[in-house]
Subunit: 350 residues, 3 copies
């Protein structure tokens, strides 16, 4: 791809892509600015990386239109745009090699149940097991060793990597991506305590529903509802090793980072961001666009949209930062207290 071709490609998504330098040079790969070699394209979205312009070997760098690049033109060309980060992301998609998760068609070793409906263009990998009455939408790809129990429905263009388990009744929308090792629809953790201290299992009769454009990382677990559905809203992104318990509802375009844990019957609004290792007590609700800091412990509902939460138990960011500042100040408080005490004693002795 030449620099000119890159400019044209980006021009389809972004206004006013300005070229400074040589249009004809061939570009073979993207790279980080500090590691880029000749023939590679990189980007600068953060001012503190501008210093790398003096030393980078990159043949092309995407920068903000305000960056002055004149002194570097001998070795490097530039595309100036309004949002260099997004431009580079779109460019990465252009360079991404197609990855083979499963070859086209149905592997001879796959075991397909009765009454299964398989759309056009589907790829089903080695040793895949598909239960009875499942439905696989067009162009979906199912990686090797993935298991679908009975009555699972996949939309179109779904990608399941190797070794995913979908329990019976799971329903996935279009363009859902699930990485290796994740388990969707296992029984919720519900046991009724008996008088003798033992437990009786509460049958988990619901399912999991996953909306369009959801991506789920590796080794995550999303439990089925006791009754009804655990719901992952359209566009939500869920990272590795996240736990979503039974009956939760995760809002559209909400992002949950690695190892966060959402207890049963929690409702999280749209466009929220949950940090890594954050934990939620059960049966609570978060409004839209709430940001939860990493390792926070959410112990009650927060119904005001757009706030940020932090700490254990979590509270709104401003209160928590004030609290943390006061904690850091404890030594000074103690010193002042001791001084007052000494002053009082002294005066008393006078």
């Amino acid at each position: 791809m030449t620099i000119q071709e890159i400019r044209e490609y980006l021009g389809r998504f972004f206004d006013a892509v300005e070229l400074v330098g040589d249009a004809d040079r061939p570009i073979t790969a993207p790279a980080k600015i500090e590691a880029a070699q000749q023939g590679e394209v990189s980007f600068i979205a953060n001012e503190k990386y501008i210093r790398f312009l003096a030393t980078t070997q990159a043949s092309l760098v995407i920068v903000h239109r305000s960056v002055c690049v004149d002194e570097f033109l001998q070795t490097t060309s530039f595309l100036k745009v309004g949002d260099p980060y997004s431009a580079f992301v779109f460019l990465l998609q252009k360079f991404a090699k197609p990855r083979t998760i499963a070859k086209k068609g149905i592997a001879a070793s796959a075991v397909i149940g009765e009454g299964v409906s398989i759309g056009e263009g589907v790829s089903i990998g080695e040793f895949v097991v598909i239960g009875d009455r499942c439905s696989i939408g067009r162009n979906s790809v199912i990686g090797p060793h993935t298991v679908l129990l009975d009555d699972v429905t996949l939309g179109e263009d779904v990608t399941l990597f190797a070794r995913v388990t979908l329990y019976d009744g799971s329903r996935l929308g279009n363009r859902v991506v699930i990485h290796s090792g994740s388990v969707i629809g296992a029984d919720g953790f519900g046991f009724a305590p008996q008088r003798d201290g033992s437990y009786v299992k509460i049958p988990q009769m619901g399912i999991v529903e996953i909306g369009d454009d959801v991506e789920i990382g590796a080794n995550a677990t999303i439990d089925r509802a006791t009754m009804g559905s655990t719901v992952i809203g359209r566009g939500a992104k869920i990272d590795n090793l996240v736990q979503v318990a039974h009956n939760c509802r995760i809002g559209e375009d909400t992002v949950i980072a690695a190892q966060a844990g959402i207890s049963g019957s929690v409702t999280i609004g749209r466009q929220c961001m949950v940090g890594g290792q954050a934990g939620f007590a059960g049966h609570l609700e978060l409004a839209d666009r709430i940001q939860v800091a990493a390792q926070a412990g959410i112990s009650k509902s927060f119904l005001q949209p757009g706030i940020a939460l932090r700490g254990y138990p979590a509270q709104p960011m401003r209160d928590q930062l004030k609290h943390e500042a006061m904690l850091r100040n404890l030594g000074a408080m103690k010193a002042k207290l001791d001084l007052l005490e000494a002053t009082l004693k002294e005066r008393h002795a006078e």
Copy 2:
């Protein structure tokens, strides 16, 4: 099933099941009170849900015998019991559809090692691998893609979902249930530091023993002992993504919620409850019936049965709540301190 049949079924487990309303209506499914439709059964165990009686479409609702239902009898019938929650749980079991994890018999694709003993009525799914000298008790079900290394013993009526790994020597009791992706008996994390900063692996020669009626969630890990056994006591329930390290002993009927982590050589008593994301330092002991709050960090042994623990480092609930109240009160302390200082200065100036 008619309401009368439900009444008779519950009468086998509970005393004094009183019917108010129509005995003959057919009931087809259970549902949550706020979502139930005609022909469905629901329950109310918590007073705050009683308001839903005015609007529910349920044909049958199980309530506490103290609830006055007269005004709702036109559309809804009632079963009055002493414990509506438990009654509903037993009823759920009645409605639960049998789920096919693996078809009866041994799948043609399964690979069975030498000297394996398989009881009557066992189901072994597609692509299951069973090592040499394993023993599978009667009526056990092994889901597709599950792997048993050598010398594994399963009791009767065991259920292993798809994609479970049992390392060599693991011993499971009767009626054990393990969900997809869990790994039982992997090597404990034991390495002996060398003078040059590197590590020599400590062979992990023990096994994992799991008692009767244990249920383990999805993607959990329970490591084998260095010598002897890591033990999960009868009736214990372990949630998704929980880590139990080598040489631990988990007491009977103890419940451990998702993402909790139990370090090596920890002993937890019977009927304890461990909250989600709680962590335990190694080599410590908890007495029976102790409750550990979510995200708590247990850094020492607690030998008094029945207490509740919370915080980091965790302490008994009363102490911790007092501590947290004092933390919340820090602002008031600071204000008082500043006032005292000002008062003293003022008086000095007088």
Copy 3:
């Protein structure tokens, strides 16, 4: 093995192994001191276990050369060494039974892609799937159900247990061990926010590189880099359920305990120790030999080698312990403050 043979074996690794007692007794197994039976060997490395010498049934006990054993010689023999713990670890390796993860050769059910290079002495288990252009070094063992996508390279003597996934392009050194359920090279969690609140996936085009002698536990996840490599340094040990995000660099001989989470682009130095459930914010750096306490939250870089960190947000151990002591002392501060206030009021009233 006789006691004399054990003495000779240990003499190959340790100086001055002194035998006290009977050299000819046969020893059949290692055991913990409190559980050891006749014919078994145990060890004491910690003074508080010396009391067990009076009651142990062990035929041989390895002790520090300073321990006086004369009164126990009737039933037990002793090997005295400078480091009984390390001596016992080496002895465990001698007793460890060889474990069959996969039988020699290539299982008939395995599916091998095109252009795959397989070294001498390799074992490939049942239902293994190996993508195109992979390379498997000599004597490596690949457990059943393990999946390698395209272009994966394994060194020599690698051990992959059952049900491991290596995504395309992963590169493993020699003697790497990976336990069941772990996923290496899944996509990093990178999504570019759009104006409408939705996300565009950032293609994750890098790989994972794992150095020689690394061991990774069960159900861990190590994500591929966005560009370039996520790197696990030679000799590092990573426990169960650990998350290592995209673009991280973990130093040589660094140990990371269970359920710890390392966010994207973190660099950790050599010979660090990270406690269980500890969490790292993204884009930060830790120097060599730093110790991170369990459940700590690392929110910034620490560049001084050898320090210990603890708390949330984490700070150097001494500061944090001082801080925690002050927190424990809050009640006393409050009491003193109230007393001062009362004293002042009283004097004012005088």
